[in-house]
């Protein structure tokens, strides 16, 4: 579906992306993970042929630059910063884009209903809330039923409830067979929506399983366990016996533990008959 080989993008003297290669098969879901400025959005814009690039980018077998129209017909794009025609009505905007994508005019109303925006059809785009605009942008991306969705930080501008709703919509689309390529800096979002992630950081690009991303980024965490005052000594001994690096901290103990093994210290204390009253993750290792 998507085949990127040796992609390079530079703006002036600044190399934003260098030597990036990856492939995404039909029905797959891949996240581009990285901090701000890592080049995640630039990769999506190269797929849309919106930035000059070196290397080869193919979408559905079409060259993204030389066969840009065919390639973009297979892509639906939800940008991070929604720039829509605010004076058009929601339905008017969808009809306008439907004409450009060769989609049936009737699909606009169907998609508005599907995105829960049926009663907002006549409202000006500029008057919609942030969450509604995000769903409208997804409706636009789905016009013409493209097999691939590109999403740039799809839930970054949403509150928690709207984020859950939007993630649920994306999961539905995944289940329906859409191929997803999205950027994110949220580990939880990557874990829920993606099979795999490409980590873009100072060490270059690494492809990892989405569920392993958290462990890769935070190989070791510090847990704070609250136990009874009189049980702290016994807790430290029990944890040391199981090989944990633990020390006293106020009314509890601090334990350093591998990211994928956070429950193990709690199990060790329970087996030693020591009640754990509370626990929290400390910032930093």
């Amino acid at each position: 579906m998507i085949d990127v080989r040796d992609l390079g993008v530079r703006f002036g003297a600044n190399r934003v992306v260098e030597g990036l290669s990856f492939a995404l098969h039909e029905g797959g879901s891949l996240a581009l993970w990285g901090v701000n400025g890592a080049g995640k959005t630039t990769v999506l814009r190269a797929l849309l042929d919106q930035v000059p690039y070196t290397g080869q980018v193919r979408v559905g077998g079409f060259d993204a630059h030389r066969q840009g129209r065919q390639a973009r017909a297979r892509l639906g794009y939800v940008p991070q910063q929604l720039a829509l025609y605010d004076d058009l009505s929601a339905l008017g905007l969808l009809r306008f884009v439907a004409g450009l994508r060769g989609a049936a005019d009737g699909q606009a109303a169907v998609l508005l209903q599907r995105m829960g925006l049926g009663d907002q059809a006549r409202k000006a785009v500029g008057a919609l809330s942030g969450g509604m605009k995000q769903r409208l942008a997804l409706a636009i991306a789905l016009l013409g039923d493209p097999p691939i969705l590109l999403l740039d930080e799809p839930t970054a501008s949403l509150d928690a409830a709207a984020r859950d709703d939007f993630s649920a919509l994306l999961l539905e689309l995944r289940a329906a067979g859409k191929t997803l390529l999205f950027t994110s800096h949220r580990v939880d979002e990557v874990a829920v929506l993606a099979d795999e992630a490409i980590v873009l950081d100072s060490q270059g690009a690494r492809r990892v399983e989405a569920r392993a991303l958290d462990a890769l980024l935070h190989p070791e965490v510090t847990l704070r366990l609250v136990v009874a005052e009189g049980a702290i000594g016994a807790a430290l001994a029990a944890l040391a016996h199981e090989g944990f690096d633990a020390r006293r901290n106020g009314h509890g103990v601090l334990v350093r533990v591998a990211a994928g093994n956070r429950a193990a210290p709690v199990s060790a204390l329970v087996q030693a008959d020591i009640a754990v009253h509370d626990l929290s993750l400390e910032a930093g290792p």
Binding site: L48, A83, F96, G99, L100
Partner: protein, 279 residues
């Protein structure tokens, strides 16, 4: 299925016409042009009754001066706001994420704006002609058609130059400022500069004519005066030389000069837009 190129261009042009009609500057320009044309035709008609002067000829002569001032300003500013405005708002990137090419976007915008502009001009000229006829004057159909045609060509050339400015500008304010400077240069400085240069370095009359025709506003003026009065004697030695040198080829030369401005400026705009950034 991807729509054909003409369908995409028509779709984009339709949106552009709609946007132009909702653009308060465009509506203000169109109303101002229509109002001034109306007023000029009434004034000219009044003078014609007193002096026995042919009503339409005098109205047309007044309209030429109005066109020279207003039409390049309309075309340049409308064109300048087109791409730069969308780039600034971010909607250009949204548009180009669809299966459309940059030249389709440029062509659609140009076609839509050209249509809106020509419709506004036709309204102004139509009102002026109607006033002349209603006042008992006669409209010289051939002269009116020539004047309208040349005005529309001037509008198309100005619009193309405006779009070239827009394709080279990242901010709409910068594009509008540049468009105003170009308008000043074409309408005022071009004329004065040419006269000054002619006096200072003693340009021969042939070179003077070529330089004058290189300015679309001057090309329009020469063509319009010829169409309305039938002679270029009012333009001095350069006018007389133009008539003698070009003869019947004068009108086609002027039309070609205006059309060349439109085509070349639009081509340059397409080349710049193809390479330019979207943000």
């Amino acid at each position: 299925m991807i729509p054909s190129s003409p369908r995409v261009v028509v779709r984009l042009a339709r949106k552009e016409v709609r946007d132009a009609l909702r653009n308060r500057w465009f509506v203000m320009f169109a109303l101002a042009f229509a109002g001034l044309a109306l007023a000029l035709s009434r004034l000219s008609l009044g003078g014609a009754e007193a002096a026995g002067f042919a009503g339409f000829g005098r109205t047309a002569a007044s309209l030429i001066n109005l066109v020279i001032l207003v039409v390049p300003l309309m075309g340049l500013t409308l064109g300048a706001a087109s791409l730069a405005g969308e780039r600034e708002r971010g909607t250009l990137a949204t548009l180009l994420a669809q299966p459309v090419t940059r030249w389709q976007v440029l062509a659609g915008k140009y076609a839509g704006l050209a249509l809106a502009l020509c419709a506004a001009l036709a309204l102004g000229f139509g009102l002026a002609a109607a006033i002349v006829v209603a006042g008992g004057g006669a409209v010289a159909a051939a002269s009116l058609a020539a004047l309208v045609g040349l005005t529309m060509l001037l509008a198309l050339a100005s619009l193309a130059i405006g779009m070239l400015i827009s394709s080279l500008s990242r901010r709409s304010a910068a594009a509008s400022g540049t468009a105003l400077l170009v308008w000043l240069a074409l309408v005022f400085l071009g004329d004065l500069g040419l006269m000054g240069t002619a006096v200072a370095i003693r340009l021969d009359v042939g070179t003077l004519l070529v330089l004058a025709l290189a300015n679309p506003v001057e090309a329009f003026k020469v063509g319009a005066v010829q169409a309305v009065t039938g002679t270029l004697d009012g333009l001095g030695p350069a006018g007389t030389y133009a008539t003698r040198r070009l003869g019947v080829a004068l009108a086609p030369t002027l039309v070609a000069a205006l059309a060349a401005w439109a085509v070349l400026a639009l081509g340059a705009a397409a080349a710049a837009f193809q390479r330019g950034r979207l943000d």
